[in-house]
Amino acid sequence: MRLTKDLLSGVMFSVFGLGAAIIAHGYGFGSPARMGPGFFPIVIGLLLAAMGLALIVQSLRHPETDEPVERLHFRPLIFISAAIASFGILIEERGLIVALVALIVIARFAGREGSLLELAVMVIVLIAVAVGIFVYALNIYLRLWI
């Protein structure tokens, strides 16, 4: 079976919808007149699952309309996620400046172009701009160093 866009979206939406409905089952359904906290999520979850199912059926009945998924590019995905995650950790542990250096340097590996000098200039300029705007112009409390 080919991994196609509609098929995979259908599977994803069905799983999410069903999962959400099952979790919401524990919240209490109530009745239409007195909707419990689970009522609306179950209805929406089942509707979502129905949409997912419709996508799966459509893809199986008309495979010619469904395109295969393009290649996933893990390099930018991993490095950008890692860059943002390190920012999140470092800003609480080491302060804004270290966090920004990590963010920009790690993100650099997501692409393939540009020299080291360019990277160094970017780090310095961006930190200066960010500190200038957020800390001095907008007066937001951010610790620069910890």
Partner: protein, 501 residues
Amino acid sequence: MSLLSELALGFSVALTLTNLMYCTIGVVVGTAIGVLPGVGPLVTIAVLLPLTFGLPPDSAMIMLAGIYYGAAYGGSTTAILVNLPGEQGAAVTVIDGYQMARQGRAGPALAIAAIGSFVAGCFGTFLIAVLALPLTRVALEFGAPEFTSLIVLALVATAVLVHGSMLKGIAVALFGVLVGLAGIDLTSGIERYTFGVPGLYEGVPFVVVAMGLFAFAEIIRNLEHAEQHTAEAIEITSLMPTREDLKASWKPILRGTAIGSFFGTLPGAGQTIASFGAYAVERRISKTPERFGKGAIEGVAAPEAANNASAQCAFIPTLTLGIPGSGTMALMLGALMIQGVTPGPRILTSHPELFWGLIASMWIGNLLLVILNLPLVGLWVSMLKIPYRWLFPIILVFSCIGIYTVNQSAIDIWVMVTFGIVGYIFVKLECEPAPFILGLLLGPLLETNMRRSLLLSHGDFTTFLTNPISAAFLLAALGLIVLMVVPAIRRSKDAATEEED
């Protein structure tokens, strides 16, 4: 109060030195964004939202609105000069605009686009001002069933009219609604979908999701391919359109404005459909349709006017009903809510200075765009030479600091990474993320109104059909779905939205 005194109040707000400054910053940044390919208005507003939290609500909205319509305006410059639409609404301007530029008529094309956008922007703003009072008066009469059905209509319209498959659009919107329910249920006090994460008690932070879904996913998509070097821009000799140009364009500008205003007011339709619609109308009624695609000035004037008119008119349902018609409008609404302003029909009485100040600032902003843009064309074109490897770190720095400052919490950063990955999966599966953000924002509102309606009707679902206004909204939603199933109409929608990406 009469319209005139309301407008006087608006101008007194918009003309203060600080607000004039924020308006100028907004339109300049917006135009720059419109020019840069790969950085859309949605991303920009998402990234700059946190910057506005410290501002008073009127200044924040004035700046964000400036970014929004500035971008609608700026996209045409690159469309004409380098054959690249800077933002989706300008996709159709590329066809005849670039041909005009190649024939040495780049100047007149830019000037007509500017004039058309200005006329349309003024008319759109005028329409908001005129329609605001009567519309809110009607909306104030709305009870829970009407609002429930109106929200359903807004969600269906956005989901159905978005690029790509209708099923996916609806599924994405429903998914957004579900995520919007996360947090403590206000009626019962029960935690839903929080998975024990303390930061999620108050719900999934809207700005953070928007930033992950749009900014993060777009950066990764742009980095997938090696950098593309943009084509050389065409030189501009003279900006002045000839008398014939003006004579040929004024009617298309007016028609484009009308078409754009109509589609802009409808939830979900948006700028792309408006500008393609206007282009198609011009080609159909032209005595010389063969000139289209070869540098017809009508092919620039009408879609540019439609694009800007619909950008302005999208504020009508957003501000008066509190129901946004597009992803960008949902973000604006989210910004308002973060500022502590409840959008909806009461905004005119509770925050008149904000509402009328925003409207007055749109007039000023549109004027600023004409004054600033034509002389600055050279600057905009040189911005195209900025490589993407410089742009994305800037976006990352602003979004990370911005998100962190919202709640000073690192959990938000993790939420952003999560939704960034969701956004990337959406891109790969060709699911448009805009309905998600709308569902996220409107989901809790939909539940509250539905709960209230059913409580009042003792659980009788026919309450949504026996109420005439509610029934009309539901019928419209159903009609949209049926229309999209008709193959011929679906094909023309596909044609109109295929260049959106």
